[in-house]
């Protein structure tokens, strides 16, 4: 007397060698490639974990113990950056608003300066008004070179 299971398995026992071949030809190589993938995945996971643990150590050792100081520094920097941006905006706005001076304004300014100079008796020497010496005759230059 047999159970249905025994009958069913006996009925299909002839296929056993084919199943064995299936293991060696297909499933075992698939298993190898899967293991390689698994190992690669594990390595990646380990790398990621190491990175996370380094960040953790940095946070625990460096930042968390003096968190108030870091927060203060961060606030100060934020304030500085904010002020800097605000002043930059204002100056750029002013610069964009100013128009180029007209020739009349410049003439009035020169006149005022002249009057001030007359009153105080001090005349500022105009910068770079003296013209550079014109080059001498070529024969002089040759004589200077030979003397040297």
């Amino acid at each position: 007397m047999k159970t249905p299971r025994e009958i069913l398995l006996k009925q299909h026992q002839a296929v056993d060698p084919k199943l064995d071949r299936m293991w060696t030809e297909t499933i075992a190589p698939e298993l190898l490639s899967w293991r390689a993938t698994l190992r690669r995945g594990r390595r990646n996971v380990t790398d990621a974990r190491e990175r996370i643990s380094m960040a953790n150590v940095l946070w625990r050792e460096l930042i968390w113990p003096c968190r108030r100081v870091w927060a203060g520094v961060a606030c100060a920097w934020l304030l500085i950056i904010g002020l800097n941006m605000a002043s930059f905006e204002r100056t750029s706005r002013v610069a964009s608003k100013t128009e180029p001076r007209s020739g009349e304004d410049i003439r009035a300014f020169i006149e005022q300066r002249r009057l001030l100079a007359q009153l105080t008796g001090w005349l500022p020497e105009p910068a770079n008004t003296r013209k550079p010496n014109p080059p001498g005759p070529r024969s002089d230059r040759m004589a200077r070179i030979s003397a040297a």
């Binding site: 007397m1 047999k2 159970t3 249905p4 299971r5 025994e6 009958i7 069913l8 398995l9 006996k10 009925q11 299909h12 026992q13 296929v15 056993d16 084919k18 199943l19 299936m22 293991w23 297909t26 499933i27 075992a28 698939e30 298993l31 190898l32 899967w34 293991r35 698994l38 190992r39």
Partner: protein, 184 residues
């Protein structure tokens, strides 16, 4: 004879870690029952071998998704069952047989070991199994081959427990009828 209670000793954890010896043990344990189940559903040797192969390859690739080691058997048969459904769809045959059966109160929850067959009944048994409608055949085979519980069969076949009960009831009734006829 291997029975389901041995599942707890199966090296599923080692297999999950990629141990090839563990996979060898699992393959040897399930290859023939799985083939028998698949063959009785698709009735084609080459297609059955292909399905068994695809089932194990899928199992290798996705074993990390298996939550409970003790459910390895039903999980593996579940993959094979899905492959059989794909095969049926490809062949587009016997579709009329795959209609849902109306739920009926179950006959009794007896073990597959309660049913013993004489040698001269073996061929009749196999013939009867092959003549059963696919849903009943599937439930009966899972019950006989691996002694899966109603819940496990329902999970494998993607149906309700009540439906599985009904299918098993019809299949067993047909089988008993045959045996009674033969014994008279």
């Amino acid at each position: 004879m291997l029975v389901v209670s041995e599942c707890e000793q199966l090296p599923v954890t080692q297999a999950r870690a990629g141990n090839s010896e563990a996979w060898d043990v699992l393959f040897k344990r399930y290859r023939l029952p799985l083939y028998a189940y698949v063959f009785e559903l698709v009735r084609n040797e080459q297609a059955s071998l292909d399905i068994v192969q695809e089932t194990f390859i899928n199992a290798v690739r996705h074993i990390r998704g298996l939550q409970h080691d003790e459910k390895f058997g039903s999980w593996l048969f579940g993959i094979a069952h899905q492959k059989c459904i794909q095969q049926w769809r490809r062949q587009d045959r016997e579709s009329a047989v795959r209609e849902e059966l109306a739920d009926e109160p179950a006959g009794g929850d007896d073990s597959p070991l309660d049913l013993l067959l004489r040698e001269e009944q073996e061929a009749e048994f196999m013939k009867l199994v092959s003549e059963l409608p696919l849903p009943q055949r599937s439930a009966l085979l899972l019950h006989f081959v691996e002694d899966f519980s109603l819940e496990e069969i329902a999970r494998i076949t993607g149906t309700q427990v009540g439906t599985v009960k009904s299918r098993l009831h019809y299949a067993k009734r047909a089988l008993r009828k045959l045996l009674e006829e033969r014994s008279l």
